[in-house]
Symmetry: C2
Subunit: 368 residues, 2 copies
């Protein structure tokens, strides 16, 4: 029996199946158009059922951010996994074990990481991480540090240099679509150029990988690239709408919440409400910088793919969300999170919704 | 066999058992000194073993923030539970069921919440929530709204008016201990005064409850109060050290993390590092406002109860934490979270530590 969304206990995490399927199909089609593989980052959803939809649409392999994610997906038949996080030296034993079960690829940007892998005797594929301007992890693609790492890997008896990757996280500073195409080109040029430098030194580089949902929404050229790794595109969120990489109608993940306290200020139209979605339902991600601050946006009404211009979340404590405007206690509101990856990691399961009814429950594998 | 902390895979959530026991004993002693009951808020730790220590030290009953927490603790023999969150109308069926198993108390601040409880036929103890100046939920203790709620409860056939409560969340704006005593007195006066007004109207009010870790650290008078409900005191965190309600040596919860990428800036002492503790290990709680912003503080060295003045976390993405200073890849750092309740909810278990060794693993019941 299909339960109506209107009868669900709150807070509940809703996943709109129509929008999810559209998002998955659109990105798969984009990858085909550019002639590159799609290796989606599953840290966004941590969900076997979503990854299966991505695979059915043509995704080859997956990207994970933790070894816990890698193990869960390996247990469910995903056998080509990229751990796109700088190798954690204390976990090389787990890498060695997992690499014996599946095709596992790890990422390095330092000699110390290579030392740790070799000391553990891990036989594993390795990609070198390049910094394309985000300035988080990764080697300078124009410097010598990356070439020295390549040489060490090429000479290793247990490790196999197979690829290079980058992530243009600085695309999250774009607003309204402006600048996205330029950053996508920086991302492409950095990693494709570094691959060329390694090849010029006689090293084989089979995989050249880029990825972020914002850059992949705007990219026009992927020459020299073999795969893309966006993740957030499955759900999108308020931040993506501000960046300009998606519209509100492209957002698949929302939190259904109830007004539990209403505080009108007598004699004024002011006041506030408390809803049952706080930092453990939405995360405390403060969302896009430089636009009106909000801890989460409220939809104009349940069915509208349109945000309320006046009511929004102004602060979150652990389980309480405070909104502008005094609403009626018992009123149900649908909230668009600032950051869907972080919101999904708050819950144990998705209520999968189609046509106003809950058609399935999908577990979220958020174990650490 | 005791595993050394220095051998643990990271990220790992460390709980210092000595500090935990001291924090629990100190708060229990404070409650005894004031002649009030201690009903600790377990949303901080979500851990049966910690709650048992609190009970052994004299705590009577517990406070929870969700029905999921209430059910887990009820399943483990805790039979006097206050759900200190404004009643969620869509969950009255669960309230009715749980109230048949244990002594459950719910909280209201609106007629709509009473309507929902009565419509569901829930037979349950009810407390009225009072706003003592935090301006989140709760009725004005000097207004008529609360008296009307009291009258409705006193006339109800299924509900029992048994108490009043408040929470001085605005104490979190204090710095260096200044103002805490004044807010503690506001908290006491608001709820004790409201209890008196109900009694003056002929209603019995057995329980008069206050609670926040900052106010309970500074309070000097609890006249008219019957219980305190602090929660964070079990662990404390960086925010409490800024408020002035605890010192760094009183913080029991830390995240053990490893440097995974090091980015010196050539020719300077500048640069940054990436550690394996991001928003899903520390939460994205931005910490205390009005002091130097940090997403998490790093200890000067593992054993020192002293924070590094120069190295700290400047930004967090999902699994990455970016720090000031280029450290060596593989170096292990211990991080003091901005908000321990939120950090604990990121993990599945505590590594319980004493004398540099892991002496136990305690599950964190973070299901929603």
């Amino acid at each position: 029996m299909v339960v109506s969304v209107r009868e669900l206990p709150t807070p509940a995490l809703l996943l709109d199946l129509d929008v999810l399927e559209e998002n998955i199909a659109r990105q798969a089609s984009r990858a085909r158009r550019f002639g590159v593989s799609l290796r989606p980052h599953i840290k966004t959803h941590k969900c076997i059922e979503v990854a299966r939809l991505q695979r059915s649409a043509g995704a080859r392999g997956i990207t994970v951010s933790t070894l816990a994610e890698a193990r869960v997906f390996a247990d469910h038949g995903f056998d080509d996994i990229l751990w796109a996080f700088p190798l954690i030296p204390s976990r090389v034993g787990e890498v060695r074990e997992l690499a014996e079960r599946i095709r596992l690829t790890v990422v390095v940007d330092s000699p110390a990481a290579i030392d740790a892998l070799e000391a553990a005797g891990a036989e594993v594929a390795v990609w070198i991480k390049v910094d394309c301007g985000y300035h988080r992890a990764g080697v300078d693609p124009a410097g010598d540090e990356g070439l020295r790492l390549g040489e060490r890997l090429a000479a290793s008896r247990s490790l196999r240099l197979e690829g290079v990757l980058t992530h243009a996280g600085h695309a999250y500073e774009c607003r309204g679509g402006g600048g996205l195409q330029e950053i996508a080109e920086e991302e492409r040029a950095a990693v494709a150029g570094f691959a060329r430098r390694l090849r010029d030194e006689g090293m084989a580089v089979d995989h050249v990988s880029v990825g972020s949902t914002p850059t992949m929404s705007a990219v026009t050229d992927l020459t020299g690239v073999t795969e893309m790794r966006p993740g957030n595109y499955t759900f999108h969120d308020y931040t993506q709408t501000v960046i300009g990489s998606a519209g509100v109608a492209d957002c698949a993940l929302t939190v259904l919440s109830t007004v539990v306290s209403s505080r009108p200020v007598t004699g004024t139209s002011e006041g506030w409400s408390v809803v049952d979605a706080g930092g453990l339902s939405l995360s405390k991600d403060s969302g896009p910088t430089g636009c009106a601050p909000t801890m989460g946006r409220i939809y104009a009404d349940y069915d509208a793919a349109r945000l309320d211009e006046h009511r929004m979340l102004t602060s979150l404590s652990q389980e309480h969300g405070v909104t502008t405007g005094a609403m009626a206690v018992g009123e149900r509101v649908r909230i668009l999170p600032n950051h869907s990856c972080m919101a999904a990691a708050c819950f144990d399961r998705y209520h999968v919704v189609r046509g106003g009814g809950v058609v399935d429950l999908w577990p979220i594998h958020r174990q650490r």
